[in-house]
Symmetry: C2
Subunit: 215 residues, 2 copies
Amino acid sequence: MNSGRKKTIEGVDSRERLLRTAEQLIAEHGYDAVSTRMIHKGCGVNIAMISYYFGSKEGLFRALIEEKVPKIREKLEVLRDSDQTPWEKLSNTIDLYVDRLFENIKFTKVMGQELSINARPENSDFIVKHIHLNMVIILSFFKEGIEKGDFKSNIDVEMTLSSIFAIIFQWINMSAIGMKLFKLEDKETVYGLDYQDRLKRHLIEMMRSHLLVNP
Amino acid sequence: MNSGRKKTIEGVDSRERLLRTAEQLIAEHGYDAVSTRMIHKGCGVNIAMISYYFGSKEGLFRALIEEKVPKIREKLEVLRDSDQTPWEKLSNTIDLYVDRLFENIKFTKVMGQELSINARPENSDFIVKHIHLNMVIILSFFKEGIEKGDFKSNIDVEMTLSSIFAIIFQWINMSAIGMKLFKLEDKETVYGLDYQDRLKRHLIEMMRSHLLVNP
DNA sequence: TAAAATTAATCAAACGATTGATTAATTAAT
DNA sequence: ATTAATTAATCAATCGTTTGATTAATTTTA
């Protein structure tokens, strides 16, 4: 229940407003280009509340990352322990990842920038660690597929896996190129449901011909 | 020839030193995290020379981009006008792009950041424009392949093209994930000739099974 | 249950440090 | 002597952070 002590605007308290505004602004302009004053002006929460809740601007950023970094793993583990075929597991993984990253476009951009620039190594290490844990699970799908003879045995599994990630990540991080390639107007976007489906379909079809012995 | 008037260190004049140092630093830390003082300390050239030669920090950055943005197009046009098969044109394109982007890893990172963040729209527009011009040429390879019956007719050409770019770009921009996936030590790198070749081979093999009617 | 004490939350104002940029003086080559 | 190139010093503006005071809700005391 609301203690009545915390100030809220439209039902959202100050801590939450700081997080959401920081996420939005940093995704758009990058961490260093976003000042604490931009965040405070963007949500009407007093500047001092950043130190109050998060200790510092970096603390706010860190909280943002720890809040979001993939909860995908649980779902991957369910997939792994299911009785689906390796190919079903893999195509469901693609489905899962596209959905999750599209749900969190702003944060996915933040993550991409953080990994690219590699300032704040604690953050990049944290992110890399979690992505890698997921990758290990997905790698097991590939190996299972090869052992069962469903997948070709001569594929470069690490390269293939990193390609799947690359395609989804890049779609979100470099929408400007996508928009030009797909001839979209300025007000249109490459983040819609239609492109989300088209991306899934393309990825799955490409993997089908690349991986399966009998596509 | 050297007029003898410009100060040089190790044969490199101030303008050039500013450009190279800015490229190095911005690729490592991002544009906003690099101050004019970092650049001047990094190369020993006086701060005021940034205004003197480039007008401003942004001007220096712009000069960096305009200096580098792909001269790939000429080579693509040679490929286009050659009598190679569509598949040969495409696999040579992959070869060309991997080589060029690996030759300019630092600048490729700068480009990736610029496109992701999209501050300074003049820069992103400039980059997008040139990348798109190249994409149009490569698209013609796809269309030619489909018309001749060499390529499958049901492939999503735009998605496929953007995937090729994504995989190469991401390889350079998110080396941290690659290093973890390929279990490299801290001092090792994912930018070596071995990985460059492995990336090419993977891309070409994946495209072969994805595109060709008779792989 | 009323008054006093404590608490978390918020605020405007200011801190020293650093930012990108400019100045005016100096150097060095023609 | 002229001029391009370089320099140290300085500028206003903004940075992230901290301060001391204030508000309002809760807890404790009487």
